[in-house]
Symmetry: C2
Subunit: 457 residues, 2 copies
Amino acid sequence: MRIDAALGDIEAVLGERLSRSRPVREQHAQSETHLHAGPPDAVAFPRSTAEVARIAEICTAHRVPMVGWGAGTSLEGHALALKGGVTIDFAQMDRILELRPEDMIVRVQPGLTREGLNAALRDTGLFFPVDPGADASLGGMAATRASGTTAVRYGTMRDNVLGLEVVLSDGRVIRTGTAAPKSSSGYDLTALMVGSEGTLGLITELTLRLHGQPEAVSAAVCAFPDMGAAVGCVIETIQHGIPMARIEFLDAASVTACNAYAQMEMPAVPHLLIEFHGTEAGVAEQAERFGEIAAEHGSADFQWATRTEDRARLWKMRHAAYRACLALRPGAEGWVTDVCVPISRLAEAVEETQADLAASPVPGPILGHVGDGNFHAILLVDPQSAEELAEAKRLSGRMAERALRLGGTVTGEHGIGFGKLGYMEAEHGAGWAVMGAIKQALDPLGLLNPGKMVASA
Amino acid sequence: MRIDAALGDIEAVLGERLSRSRPVREQHAQSETHLHAGPPDAVAFPRSTAEVARIAEICTAHRVPMVGWGAGTSLEGHALALKGGVTIDFAQMDRILELRPEDMIVRVQPGLTREGLNAALRDTGLFFPVDPGADASLGGMAATRASGTTAVRYGTMRDNVLGLEVVLSDGRVIRTGTAAPKSSSGYDLTALMVGSEGTLGLITELTLRLHGQPEAVSAAVCAFPDMGAAVGCVIETIQHGIPMARIEFLDAASVTACNAYAQMEMPAVPHLLIEFHGTEAGVAEQAERFGEIAAEHGSADFQWATRTEDRARLWKMRHAAYRACLALRPGAEGWVTDVCVPISRLAEAVEETQADLAASPVPGPILGHVGDGNFHAILLVDPQSAEELAEAKRLSGRMAERALRLGGTVTGEHGIGFGKLGYMEAEHGAGWAVMGAIKQALDPLGLLNPGKMVASA
Ligand SMILES: Cc1cc2nc3c(=O)[nH]c(=O)nc-3n(C[C@H](O)[C@H](O)[C@H](O)COP(=O)(O)OP(=O)(O)OC[C@H]3O[C@@H](n4cnc5c(N)ncnc54)[C@H](O)[C@@H]3O)c2cc1C
Ligand SMILES: Cc1cc2nc3c(=O)[nH]c(=O)nc-3n(C[C@H](O)[C@H](O)[C@H](O)COP(=O)(O)OP(=O)(O)OC[C@H]3O[C@@H](n4cnc5c(N)ncnc54)[C@H](O)[C@@H]3O)c2cc1C
């Protein structure tokens, strides 16, 4: 690694948009969670694909690591420069390149955030559904295969990225996918890049599927006597084929946190937050059928949010749930778990996790995108306490093992970063070595986000 | 390649289930289309993953090609053993391994066909939607990333395969995906294998997503004054977000073919065949709104098929359309084209293709899954005529170039096989070399379905 020579060459391309200043570097050593690492050697702010390609060529020539950076909201230390090198911050590549309403697609740069995109789409009748709560960048969301509250209806980034432009480690630029709705042409490089966490290439452009803004929307907050009843209601709703747009679970502790943080007044019992999208008649029909199922599962308190403001407040509260949980224990850091299991095993997975938590000194409110079998315990740890960190590690390890035992995955949506690297072999077995072989084929020098995803050379 | 030694070793494992007989080998040199090649050296009929893994080990040890075979219905010579070796026919691996209605998934062996699966699901309230017309094997459908009439609503094999078991060229067995609805764990090896046409591994098991059988179904046959009106109707229906389960286009020539072959009496003008799935009320609402749009686009003759028998007859006719077209010209072979473009360019793509065909001596009825922007011209060629074959090649080349120019793909659903290898570089540019690198990483000796998908070593 010849870092100085590399930075000199990159500076010749970017000028002041290559920063070696301590505050900028420190900013790119931040993570939302308990995971920490030192800063990169410099941060680059490219404005075009050509600039990204030049950076990659230079870094390859000098054997310098390259780490992509979107909005820095990922939860497993994904964007931390474990081996130093250059962090490539896509903040200045945030334009909409082409909107094609007739095809319901949009071509964007990776630094655009999902909220930025949806603000720009407001008057078009279209929207981009993937909703991880945080205002993440679309490049980062593709890189982590993000999802969120609406995946149960609209899918994850896997389903909503139609094509990409990607700069490879050596500076070659490839385009994956087309603007056609489907293709059987060749290996699915789009899907390979989605979820690759910046270890196979740097995404410089995305073609995204858009969806029609629903004609009618209806949301509800439903209290349940216990977690099993809430999960039972979810399973039955899915089996009846009622097309929910969102179905979110909050346990009693999360409800308490949200009440305090967002001035809500929900009873301190498990809740489902649910939303339907469709025509007026369709939504009314769905809501009625869901209401019957929920009542059968003992949901007594049942409030429909029909006004736009009420719904906005509801989802703002849901999106603030992470902060709300953190606020339960001032000074604590969040250790965010993220398992996903087959729906039929969801109640079991949540119950066993609750039992673990009840027996532990570390608090951990539980919430999740239960329509996908996906839930999180937000473990609230004192970052100064080695015991608490060890306990959180044990709890999250048990959740991961449980998810695998039940036929699920150690991460439903947050990804691997370096926080979950230790589970890759358990989840993928010989498949993990195949991932290593692919990494080796595309990034033979191991310069793209080193220390992540695959076994280190 | 030490073929005799390899066959001896495989025979020791499979006994009579390794066939060197000429008829069996010839049967595995058949293709549905104008593409032909010599037979493999032998055909293996394994019954378990372990047997497939042993075959792969033996073939690798002796440097012998391995070619997967499902139902042999692919249309670009995919399953032809271009370099000889062993064809692995999955016909005897056709069991349902595990049905999990609560999770709406099923685990199957690759040789099971989609009709076989749906017959077994009939009384469960569930079905598997991907419908390529032919009674293809599920392994072959995954390998070609197949779709068909219902993709506009339920997606393609990309969307409906949740996980796989795959035997790699050296005999290692990997499992991709999990039984959970989504995951952000690692590179998406499932998506990489789907559409890889047996060049990266042999699929020995699939976990598939099932869907609820719709409560209500309604289908219609609508005649349009011209192709532009029919396509305009499709585009507007999509933009209104009306959730069609199927929307198929037949041009006047296809209609004539179907009338003759299936004793139908449609007027000889372009038609749309459409189907809605949902609740009684939902389907009625959708049908009404579609009816309005179709009428605005000049659809005069408009027949609803409400009875199950009428719908069955309708889709049987659609599925027989290929044979119906072949019957237009006895003795002809089909050269089936398969392009896919963004919806907004569909009318243009079909019109230009029709103009080409009008000026050509080779007949080519056009039909397609227009809700996806996907259509086929069935070129009817005299296999003895070098001029006609050259003309068909020219026509299909122009369709492929047109699709790329309009932002689409050279194959919407049939895949590459060896018929379309010549377009890979034009469609993927530098991405094709990346595919080559992945092939090299997973199958370094190039033994899996050689001569397909990537540039030959
Ligand atoms: C409060 C809160 C709630 C959240 N809720 C959810 C949720 O519901 N669902 C969910 O999925 N996630 C959730 N997350 C996690 C996070 O928002 C997602 O992981 C998101 O996709 C990260 O995007 P980002 O732009 O912040 O990426 P970053 O954190 O900047 O980077 C993430 C990874 O992507 C790589 N990367 C970034 N840009 C590029 C690029 N252009 N090319 C190649 N690689 C790149 C980075 O190197 C890194 O490996 C939540 C986070 C917070 C803080
Ligand atoms: C009348 C007709 C209509 C059609 N309509 C459509 C349509 O609407 N949509 C559509 O998508 N296709 C259509 N097709 C094409 C064909 O049905 C599909 O390509 C189908 O997916 C092929 O499946 P198969 O089992 O016949 O595969 P095969 O032809 O046997 O093999 C196809 C490829 O898959 C590989 N393969 C097979 N099994 C395995 C395995 N277990 N592991 C690894 N590789 C394997 C083979 O090596 C080969 O490369 C049609 C074909 C016909 C004849």
